[in-house]
């Protein structure tokens, strides 16, 4: 065994790339877990093809997983990778653009066959010609070594054995970055518990990869990234979709109401349904409807029945839910609608992320039907967003839209697990008694302009609601022109008034004298923050704010905006928040719009800011 140096580095970006069938998502996921357990801060970016299983070796079938980890806090999955693990030529070809200059390439040389090279459109083998001379290339026959490692395992087919090559890669990279191995080994043991041969094969492959790093003379150094100094407590990795699902469950508990969740599968929102449908012992009722209209309708029904009621979808499904949303707005029923945005319009790029649905969230319904809109900024933030949406929905009797997106949905970050006891009480009181001269009037209002909710089954409070304009107070159908106008204004005022009940917009402006404010919303938070950090590191001044509440805006938003000479609004769309800001505050905010189906790179925003400071 040669003596290896162990170098300390502060941050590393690794990209695993291979065929859809190569198990790259799993590999990345396991590496993330080990990294998290080790104590680094991290951010991940899964990036998979639209096809379920594309033909082996094809360019469009490449599945990638990028992880950025560090000993300090991490804000994005990283602009460019330092290390690329390429399981085949197609993976190499599609991922090279994302590799930093002089980066490391670890290639499964066994997969660089003539056939695979041709499929990837290489006329010669890049590992053999000098086209990769700008990088540090390690060619490793991973398939062969995996097969060898598993050779002694009884009852394992060759195909099964070969599928362990991702574990080989994982073992190797785990060694390179000094990741703990026990976490992964335990996971393998548990995951394949039912199939001892497969378990043994995977374990062998993982260990072989690790040992190869350790023993082969190939690698000059092993790296270590020290744990980040995160706040003390117990942590886990969490994706946005899982956090959303758990947030809804938490909200149900904090409201003291059972959760009713109606949804129709759609990428990238389906995992919320998947997760919630597992939680039956939490009393969660999930309903896979025949379409998004039915899901939204059922959710309205659940809300009328006094449950905490929610639905989740992505863009195309939003189009279909709008009519029910408008109904819920006039019925004034609590309802949480999660839109996990993806790249549109139409089917667009269904597995890619975008922030294209802010306008439809604001204005997607005919007539005047304003509803509150909020947007989480990171995977873990989805947990709180689900609770906050539930709180607002219940307290103000209104549908609330949560704008998550494909990036948040699938990306993971370490999360300081909250103590359930620390969560807010969001329970509300249902009506139990007549409230007007012995009658029950469903459209009387409290100080928040919220109407009383009498749940079916409550004796004596029978009443009828519906989509025709309601008489103020009494709640019967009213064709009175003045009442209609009053009710339109009332519904708008109710939503606007929520601004009294939310925190002011915080500004991050360490210099206190920046001239430019960068303001964003949703999942671009990390990239914007990282960009500002870099700008400041470069000695320039920039202020930063991030809107969690998009309707209504926090009370001080206008004041914040007007404090700066220039306002820049980076968005992963063609400019939507910027329109709302300009209309509302008459501030000459400028849009920096990028709509490539990918999360922002901090570098892009950094460049844009530097142009303007």
């Amino acid at each position: 065994m040669t003596q290896k140096t162990v170098q300390e580095v502060h941050r590393v970006v690794i990209r695993f790339a291979g065929d859809s069938g190569d198990g790259m998502q799993l590999t990345g996921d396991r590496f993330s877990t080990a990294t998290a357990v080790f104590g680094n801060d991290l951010s991940t970016l899964p990036d998979f093809p639209a096809e379920i299983r594309a033909p082996a070796g094809s360019l469009f079938g490449v599945s990638g997983f990028q992880i950025h980890f560090s000993d300090e806090d991490i804000l994005t999955p990283g602009d460019r990778a330092n290390v690329l693990v390429a399981m085949n030529p197609a993976a190499l070809k599609t991922s090279l653009v994302d590799l930093a200059p002089a980066g490391v390439i670890i290639a499964n040389s066994d997969a660089f066959t003539e056939k695979n090279l041709e499929r990837a459109g290489y006329s010669s083998n890049p590992l053999k010609d000098d086209s990769l001379s700008g990088y540090q290339v390690y060619e490793i026959p991973m398939t062969a070594m995996t097969l060898e490692a598993a050779a002694s395992v009884e009852g394992l087919t060759k195909k099964e054995a070969e599928r362990g090559k991702n574990m080989f890669a994982l073992g190797l990279v785990s060694w390179m970055y000094s990741r703990p191995t026990d976490v992964t080994e335990r996971w393998i043991q548990k995951k394949f518990g039912g199939k001892p041969a497969v378990m043994a094969g995977n374990l062998a492959a993982f260990r072989a990869g690790h040992a190869f790093g350790e023993t082969a003379g190939l690698f000059a150094a092993q790296y270590v990234v020290k744990p980040a100094s995160n706040a003390p407590g117990r942590y886990r990795n969490v994706t946005g979709n899982a956090a959303t699902a758990w947030g809804l469950v938490a909200a149900s508990g904090q409201a003291g109401l059972p959760l009713f969740f109606a949804s129709y599968p759609i990428t990238p929102a389906s995992d919320i349904l998947h997760e919630l449908s597992r939680l039956k012992n939490f009393g969660v009722r999930t309903f896979q409807a025949e379409d998004e209209i039915a899901a939204a309708g059922a959710a309205v029904g659940g809300a009328f029945g006094g449950h905490l009621s929610a639905t989740a979808t992505s863009g195309p499904g939003m189009d279909l839910k709008e009519e029910a949303l408008g109904l819920a707005a006039i019925l004034e029923l609590p309802l949480v609608v999660v839109d996990v945005q993806r790249a549109g319009p139409s089917t667009g790029l269904p597995t890619k992320t975008e922030q294209g649905d802010l306008m439809i969230a604001m204005y997607g319904r005919h007539g005047e039907a304003p509803v509150p809109v909020i947007a989480p900024r990171s995977p873990a933030d989805c947990f709180g967003a689900a609770i906050e949406a539930s709180r607002i929905a219940l307290k103000y009797r209104t549908p609330v839209i949560v704008l998550s997106d494909g990036f948040l949905a699938n990306s993971a970050e370490p999360w300081l697990i909250p103590d359930p006891a620390s969560l807010p009480d969001i329970s509300i009181a249902f009506a139990t008694e007549p409230n007007h001269d012995g009658e029950f009037w469903p459209y009387l209002r409290d100080e928040n302009l919220a109407r009383p909710l009498a749940v079916p089954g409550t004796r004596g409070l029978q009443h009828r609601i519906g989509g025709l304009e309601r008489a103020d107070g009494r709640g019967n159908v009213s064709h009175d022109p003045a009442n209609h106008e009053r009710m339109i204004r009332m519904r708008a005022a109710k939503v606007a008034k929520i601004a009294d009940d939310i925190p002011p917009l915080e500004v991050d402006d360490p210099s206190q004298s920046a001239e430019i404010l960068v303001i964003g919303w949703g999942s671009s938070w990390g990239a914007i923050r990282e960009a500002c950090r870099r700008v400041r590191d470069a000695g320039k001044k920039v202020a930063r704010a991030h809107l969690f509440y998009l309707n209504p805006f926090p009370r001080n938003t206008g004041e914040v905006l007007r404090r700066y000479q220039r306002v820049l609004v980076p968005e992963m769309n063609n400019g939507q928040l910027v329109k709302l800001i300009r209309a509302e505050f008459l501030v000459d905010a400028k849009s920096f719009a990028k709509a490539q189906g990918l999360p922002f790179r901090a570098g892009d925003i950094e460049t844009e800011i530097l142009k303007r400071v």
């Binding site: 469950v249 004796r459 009828r464 019967n476």
Partner: protein
């Protein structure tokens, strides 16, 4: 008083008045909807369900104004979507008695998909579809039950659409309780309503209802004094299917399985088809649905099918109970701690 659908209570007897709201009824004078409202209001007290345990959900259409007139909980919702809302409500709240009131356009045009999915799931709902074979509220366009050749505002040269046979459609969609009644035949209608309410799962009742403004007389052949006896084929469980003034006509099943109307005298009594609501396989009910292609000829009235099948909301509930029994009530703290976690000190 017991919770839920179909259970008989013990409290001071309810009356029709208990189910009447204070709202002025706003259908055209002479509209068939009045009779259905009155029938429903008079059946309700006999079901032993208190008004506050009943919810009536409707879509949009003349028929869909119904909930406003019932002193129960109610929602007048969106065109075509009543079944979705009712599905959510009945699934969340299996303790309620949830009724859907809808029209032929509301249920079969824009709402067709929800109807068939509700039927296959067997959600615990009673669906009353007022079929006037026209769009009333929008003032007289073709509906999916309007007959071919019909001249309406939207088909001035006559319709070229083949109408649905709503009973056949409901049976094709796995309906467990499928019936037809006439708005104007109160005793028969109330009988069917009681049976529908007693059925756990989705009960679908097509009620032929005259729209005297836009489609007057559509059901005269079944309701006119002069014709009704010849044309109403009453389906009664366990009884041979005979009809006519002196029961002189009968339905027989031919060797090839098809049904035919014959002179009762021309066949042996044993040959006459005996109606069986409860037959598991729906083909006989389907054949009966096809005995008539519209309400202008001898047409079966009554319960085509009434079978038991697991009920969607009940099964959902059962899974929750089973999961809780097995895993214990959900513990958020544990859930969040599940999987790989680590401590930062």
């Amino acid at each position: 008083m017991v919770e839920g659908n179909g259970a008989v209570g013990t409290q001071a007897a309810l009356t029709k008045k208990d189910f009447e709201s204070d709202q002025e009824v706003r259908w055209c004078p002479g509209c068939g909807d009045y009779a259905i409202l009155s029938a429903v209001q008079s059946v309700m007290p006999t079901l032993g369900i208190e008004p506050h345990k009943v919810v009536v959900v409707s879509g949009i259409g003349c028929s869909s104004r119904f909930p406003y007139y019932m002193n129960t909980y109610g929602m007048h919702s969106i065109h075509g979507r009543a079944a979705t809302i009712a599905t959510g409500l009945a699934t969340a709240r299996p303790d309620l008695s949830v009724w859907v009131v809808t029209g032929d356009g509301d249920a079969l045009a824009i709402g067709g998909n929800h109807l068939i999915h509700t039927l296959r799931r067997n959600v615990n709902l009673t669906i009353l579809m007022f079929n006037n074979q026209i769009y009333g509220l929008t003032k007289g366009q073709l509906s999916p039950t309007s007959e071919r050749g019909k001249v309406t505002k939207s088909t001035p040269f006559g319709s070229v659409d083949q109408p649905f046979n709503p009973i056949a459609l409901a049976l094709g969609a796995e309906g467990t309780f499928v019936a037809r009644a006439l708005a104007v035949d109160r005793p028969h209608l109330t009988g069917v309503l009681s049976r529908a309410a007693a059925h756990r799962g989705t009960s679908f009742i097509e009620v032929y209802q005259n729209c005297n403004i836009f489609n007057d007389g559509a059901f005269d052949m079944l309701t006119d004094k002069a014709h009704k006896v010849q044309n109403q084929i009453r389906l009664e469980h366990g009884k041979p299917i005979r009809f006519g003034e002196r029961d002189e006509r009968a339905v027989v099943q031919l060797r090839d399985g098809s049904l035919k109307i014959v002179e009762a005298g021309s066949v042996a009594e044993g040959e006459i088809l005996v109606h069986d609501e409860h037959r598991g396989e729906p083909s006989l009910a389907f054949a009966l649905a096809h005995l008539s292609t519209g309400p202008t000829m001898p047409t079966p009235i009554g319960i085509f099918r009434d079978v038991e099948r697991p009920v969607y909301g009940d099964d959902v509930e059962r899974q929750l109970v089973a999961a809780q029994a097995k895993l214990g009530a959900g513990d958020l703290g544990k859930l969040l701690m599940s999987g790989d976690t680590w401590e930062v000190k």
